[in-house]
């Protein structure tokens, strides 16, 4: 029996050597293929953007020659004190927002994954809701709640005779709204990492006499540091690119961020795209430095926590304190989900948003379905919902496959050129949506064939734009799988694809599903690149929403946002249910 096994194993090894010789070119071909795909999706549009920043014309319309390129335009922009002040404001607002997001997101992840707080499943789902809310809508909802004169919170304070007033038309207001809306990003990264962590590491610390807090500070958090840093960096960078929140809350206080500045440049008649492109390049440099710092911070350490051993994440028994964590979680959900949703419901159902005082809020004669009727009378509303779903699914599938291919190549293989692939993949994160939209237009419209004007051009733009987000989300879960799991499969004679199919994919499934879901949500919310790439047959929800908002009809805007939130919530519940079912029926998780 033993001899047979040995000979089988030797036979396997020989075949493997043979295979290795025959297919030694394969990794190179694979790397080349990925680089070609990335060149099309990322390098080519980014190059168009750089050309835009270094010239003064539209590179497609006016053409360009190398002699036209000059850094004069770029230097003028860089020397403009207003750019410096917008950059500083962006750094303050997004930096503050990120700190708040990390604090909330991490605490929330810890409460949900590692404690015995009651109803934590429900809390976890509700905590993700802000992700479905487009930033513009978040801004509008908080303006209704916290504007200095007529904000509902201030009306309530006045009613209760309290002298205290809030003013969200301020830097503090933006930091607050950024923080609470991007906490789910940090939560997603850190919760997955906490869930996939082998508790024996913490047990070892405790056996050695460390207290619970010390264990957390010296073992738990350091181990999930890549996830914390990824979440922190990603939420910071995403905030840097957000237009809606500073447009609604910053503008009345005359606080310009880079995005509102860029939007003004693109909307100006005549538009100043070259200047906008230069500002975007500045943003890219800032982001590039941050990504480099992140790489430096996590390089050279091992974060492997999922090994081929059975484990269950431990839940800390908080005793009576669990009601305190429950209370805090409910407070968070009340502030982040309930309050703004109530504001949106009031806006969507109230004929007009003039509310003199708190009793006027409950005057039911002021409420009606008028905004919903008007919205659905417009045939573009339903069309845009259908189109968005279609593009969202295309994006999630194509982007999911590509991200997995890239994530796996970067984190699990020795493929030549994987560092370059990693770097290219990170580029789009740094480019604000409005500018990348015009870069895609410039880059792809000239291609022969019928890509322009189709759903595919939108889907490809979204895949490219959100590749960094999905690859990061996937890599985090891939980095945690111990090499020994794959090695076991190889030893048993599985090839590379077989190993991926039977070991890696099932184990990384939460990450893959999370990545694809994230992609779907981001694609549906994405406004900047849609604005330039949609055509008369491919109008999407985000563009339609901006149309309603720019038309000055807050009622319809709120009604449409509610419809969008409900749709996304239903779809995501369905995906969750689907992935859970698949996971249960799939390969056992306990190695």
């Amino acid at each position: 029996m033993d001899a047979q096994a040995t000979s089988l194993a030797m036979g396997g090894a020989q075949t493997k050597q043979h295979t290795a010789r025959t297919y030694s070119w394969l990794p190179w071909a694979w790397a080349a293929l990925l680089i070609v795909v990335l060149a099309f999706l990322i390098i080519y549009p980014t190059t168009m953007l750089l050309i835009g920043a270094l010239t003064t014309g539209n590179p497609v319309v006016d053409g360009y020659q190398l002699s036209d390129l000059s850094i004069a335009n770029f230097l003028t922009v860089a020397a403009n004190p207003n750019v410096a002040s917008a950059l500083l404001n962006s750094l303050i607002a997004c930096g503050g927002g990120t700190l708040l997001a990390v604090f909330i997101g991490l605490s929330f992840a810890w409460v949900v994954v590692r404690t015995n707080t009651p109803w934590k499943g429900l809390i976890a789902s509700a905590g993700m809701l802000p992700l479905f809310v487009p930033p513009l809508v978040a801004g509008v909802a908080w303006a209704i709640l916290g504007s200095p004169k007529t904000g509902l919170i201030n009306l309530l304070m006045a009613k209760m005779g309290l002298p205290f007033r809030v003013d969200l038309y301020s830097m503090t207001g933006m930091i607050f709204v950024f923080g609470i809306y991007y906490a789910p990003y940090v939560y997603m990264f850190t919760a997955a990492a906490l869930r996939n962590m082998d508790p024996s590491l913490e047990e070892a610390a405790e056996i050695s006499g460390a207290s619970a807090t010390r264990t957390m500070a010296t073992v738990t958090f350091p181990l999930i540091m890549p996830a914390i840093i990824s979440g922190l960096l990603l939420s910071f960078i995403v905030m840097l690119g957000i237009y809606g929140i500073p447009a609604v809350l910053g503008s009345p206080a005359n606080i310009n961020l880079l995005t509102t500045y860029i939007f003004a440049l693109t909307a100006w008649s005549p538009p100043q795209y070259n200047t906008a492109a230069s500002v975007a390049v500045i943003l890219m440099i800032v982001t590039g430095v941050l990504v480099y710092l992140q790489q430096k911070a996590i390089s050279g350490r091992s974060y492997t926590t999922v090994a081929g051993k059975a484990f269950r994440p431990r839940a800390l028994n908080l005793g009576p304190w669990r009601f305190l964590t429950l209370g805090l979680a409910i407070l968070y959900i009340f502030i982040v989900v309930v309050l703004p949703t109530l504001a949106l419901i009031v806006a969507a159902f109230r004929k007009f948003l003039f509310i003199r005082d708190i009793p006027a809020l409950f005057d039911m004669s002021q409420y009606s379905w008028i905004h919903f009727n008007k919205m659905f009378d417009n045939p573009l509303t339903l069309q845009s919902i259908y189109n968005s779903m279609y593009v969202g699914i295309l994006t999630a599938i194509v982007g999911g496959i590509l991200s997995f291919a890239i994530g796996y190549t970067i984190t699990r293989t020795q493929t030549p050129g994987r560092r370059i692939i990693d770097v290219i993949t990170t580029i789009p994160v740094a480019i604000p949506g409005l500018v990348i939209g015009v870069a895609y237009l410039w880059a792809w419209i000239a291609l022969p064939g019928g890509l322009y004007g189709t759903f595919w051009i939108l889907a490809l733009a979204f895949v490219a734009r959100f590749l960094p987000d999905t690859v990061k989300a996937l890599s985090t879960s891939l980095m945690q799988l111990h090499k020994e799991l794959e090695e076991a499969a190889w030893v048993c004679g599985r090839g590379m694809l077989g190993t991926i199919g039977t070991i890696v994919l099932p184990l990384a499934r939460p990450g893959v599903v999370a990545g694809m879901t994230l992609l779907f949500i981001l694609a549906i919310r994405e406004l900047g690149s849609s604005l330039f790439l949609y055509s008369s047959g491919t109008m999407v929800m985000a563009v339609q929403l901006l149309g309603y908002y720019e038309g000055g009809n807050i009622g319809i805007t709120a009604a449409f946002s509610l419809v969008q939130m409900v749709l996304l919530a239903v779809l995501i519940t369905f995906t969750n249910w689907l992935s859970r079912g698949a996971a249960e029926g799939g390969v056992v998780k306990t190695g």
Binding site: N82, T150, T260, F532, G547, Y549, G552
Partner: protein, 346 residues
């Protein structure tokens, strides 16, 4: 002080011939499209409209057009000013311009694309005010106008003139306004203020510490909510709210009403040229302009409006349209001055 301002304003008026008054009332001419055009348009069955107007408003117009001419599906691509121009220029350079009609609030920008457009003039071309036309190919299907709006629940003594806005009683952030660099529409108002109301208008208005908004939509919403009490707003954003019963009203000030005649044109590359022609003929006809006046609170660039514009007394009120050349030549320098006057960082 007031006399000086008036003299100043009158001086500016004399210098410019762009102040226009509507002609005496006349009966509206019914719209009669040639049967051959209607048939050809129906055969094409479709029309792609690129517009900078609000989608909700355009949708109403499309519905009305379809009632009149069923069987022509109008598909709309909507983007704000600068973004729409970028799209059109880029698409056109690659022979991929999808539009059968381009509608834009900035006539100067449309004129810069003049070579893209086919020759076109509506049957009633002679009825249009010459100062609203920038090219024989480009026509003002829509003509919005500036007004002063206020919250009727909170303002009991509303301003009646542009100069009233500089009174201290409306100070301390009660007034909101859209930043002048936001686009052609606001730039028209800024130009009017400086040319007609005088050089000292901006500093005096700025002394009232106006709140600045990036575009008209959030500002009109802020007036309804009572966050802002008074604001210069395009009447077509106020009018539907007022009709629906919102606590907002507006007047056309006596010193002049700045109008923004749109530039609409049919590209040579239009794949549905007959449908496009029918749409333009209808929009520019008395019937189409009556719809724009009555249902949407716009003005018209017709010499004589087919119905009296709501809230506008043609006997007393004056229109003002910017000089097309100055509209471009003064743009950069004056906006810089505006930004300084109102402490806006561009």
């Amino acid at each position: 002080m007031m006399t000086l301002n008036r003299r100043h304003a009158l001086g500016s008026l004399a210098a410019l011939t762009l102040i226009a008054k509507y002609g005496p009332a006349r009966a509206a001419k019914p719209f009669q499209a040639p049967a051959s055009l209607v048939d050809a348009a129906k055969k094409e069955g479709e029309l792609i409209l690129y517009t900078a107007a609000f989608p909700e408003v355009m949708q109403d117009t499309i519905t009305l057009f379809n009632k009149r001419f069923p069987g022509i599906k109008v598909r709309m691509v909507r983007a704000s000013g600068g973004q729409l121009i970028t799209r059109v220029r880029t698409e056109a350079s690659q022979n991929k311009l999808e539009a059968d009609i381009l509608d834009h609030s900035d006539r100067a920008q449309v004129k810069s694309l003049e070579e893209l457009f086919a020759d076109y003039a509506p049957p009633n071309a002679a009825d249009y005010m010459p100062q609203t036309l920038v090219s024989p190919k480009i026509w003002p299907t829509i003509t919005p106008a500036w007004s002063i709006a206020w919250n009727t629940e909170l303002v009991k003594n509303p301003p009646k003139t542009w100069w009233d806005l500089t009174k201290p009683e409306y100070g301390d952030g009660k007034i909101g306004q859209v930043i002048a660099p936001s686009g052609g529409t606001t730039w028209t108002r800024a130009m009017f203020e400086r040319q007609v109301l005088g050089e000292d208008y901006w500093p005096k208005l700025a002394a009232n510490k106006t709140k600045l908004y990036p575009s008209g939509a959030p500002l009109s919403d802020a007036v309804v909510r009572g966050e802002i009490l008074i604001a210069p707003l395009i009447f077509n954003i106020v009018y539907p709210k007022k009709v629906a019963g919102a606590p907002i009203d507006a007047i056309y000030p006596k010193e002049g009403v700045p109008i923004i005649p749109y530039g609409s044109a049919i590209p040579k590359s239009a794949r549905h040229p007959n449908a496009a022609r029918l749409w333009m003929d209808w929009m520019l006809s008395d019937e189409g302009q009556e719809h724009s006046l009555r249902d949407q609170g716009n003005m018209t660039s017709l010499k004589t409006p087919p119905i009296a514009p709501p809230g506008f007394d043609p006997k007393v009120d004056k229109l003002w349209a910017p000089d097309a050349k100055q509209f471009e030549s003064l743009h950069a320098a004056w906006l810089e001055d505006w930004n300084k006057a109102f402490g806006y960082r561009q």
